[in-house]
């Protein structure tokens, strides 16, 4: 029922860093999340996009040395699509995602605390109806633990290079009128309140 203590402490440490980053990134705020979906605030995309590009470089660089292994979720078509739709609708109404709602509790946001209770209920419904759910979501079949490089039969580095170029173009584009401020103070985020 419990992982060994070193692994629990490792998880706690990783989570604390993650929580600090989510709070300082301002994504534990209702307005920042909902404004992203209205295309008025690009904080969520900036953070996730940068994390994905930087993360991909490191993981695929460490992979040949055997220092990490991949953990790919299977592409169960109906599960991923139906899950994605429910997740998106829920997240837009809630105004937080699972990780940022927990971080929002740390900010003292009462609606996030209520929502985290709802999340536990949602997980309970999933566990209770697991046998029935499995037979439904596998109806359209599964493509298995497929990666984009496998699917397109190219090197992962082609994908990573492409994503990096897209990210660089997006950053230059979004900063085209604010170039002087780019990179001068990496700790200065946007200051407007929520």
């Amino acid at each position: 029922m419990f992982d060994p203590i070193w692994k629990l402490l490792l998880g706690l440490f990783t989570g604390i860093i993650f929580g600090i980053l989510l709070q300082k990134g301002r994504v534990a705020k209702f307005r920042v999340i909902v404004s992203q979906f209205l295309f008025r605030d690009w904080t969520v995309v900036k953070i996730m996009g940068t994390a994905v590009v930087v993360g991909a470089m490191g993981i695929y660089a460490l992979l040949p040395a055997g220092l990490v292994s991949l953990h790919i979720k299977p592409l169960v078509w109906l599960g991923v699509i139906a899950g994605g739709v429910l997740f998106g609708v829920g997240m837009a109404l809630f105004g937080y995602c699972p990780g940022t709602s927990v971080a929002a509790c740390g900010e003292g946001r009462r609606d996030a605390m209520v929502g985290v209770g709802g999340m536990l209920l949602g997980a309970a419904v999933y566990v209770w109806f697991y046998p029935q759910i499995q037979s439904v979501i596998t109806m359209w079949g599964s493509a298995g633990k497929l990666t984009l490089p496998e699917w397109t039969d190219v090197s992962p580095w082609l994908w990573i290079t492409g994503l990096t170029l897209v990210a660089i173009v997006a950053v230059l584009w979004s900063n085209r009128r604010r170039m002087p401020s780019l990179g001068t103070d990496p700790l200065a985020g946007q200051q407007h309140p929520t």
Partner: protein, 175 residues
Amino acid sequence: MSNPLSRKSWSPYLVGIAIGILSWFAFWSANHPLGITTAFEHTAALIFQAVYPPIVETNSYFDAESPKIGWEWMVVLGVFLGSLLSTLSSGDVERIKVPQMWKDRFGSSVALRFTVAALSGGVMMFGARLAQGCTSGHGISGNLQLAASSWLFSVTFFGAAVVTAFLCYGRTRHV
């Protein structure tokens, strides 16, 4: 320079780079991708197991999964503590029941906001478990591994959230 923790916010690019590096650390040190929702699923399963033990015999969930208090559970606890630490050191405390943007659109009823928060949080989590991941597990950890399932999930959830947000808030222009 003052303590960076006392700042209310950091550059989103800096935060993104740090989360990317944190994911290297998670894969390397714990052989785990960063994720949040598995811990909720395991907690719900452990509660069922405690209050209604026969479920372990009758529900195939317990054949497929062994719920536990593990690394992922501690990550969630850590996210709360880390955010609390960051909030307290910067004074960015938001003890609010109804966010301003919601109030402008749907009024200041606490009961309405709490009801929608509980229901939408539940729907969001149910969706995450159907897809086996969330904005962390698929959106960051899965996408950075170039998993096809994660990219499909990300496009789908973002599209659904944009449609929902425009239906709910598209008419408000004062933001």
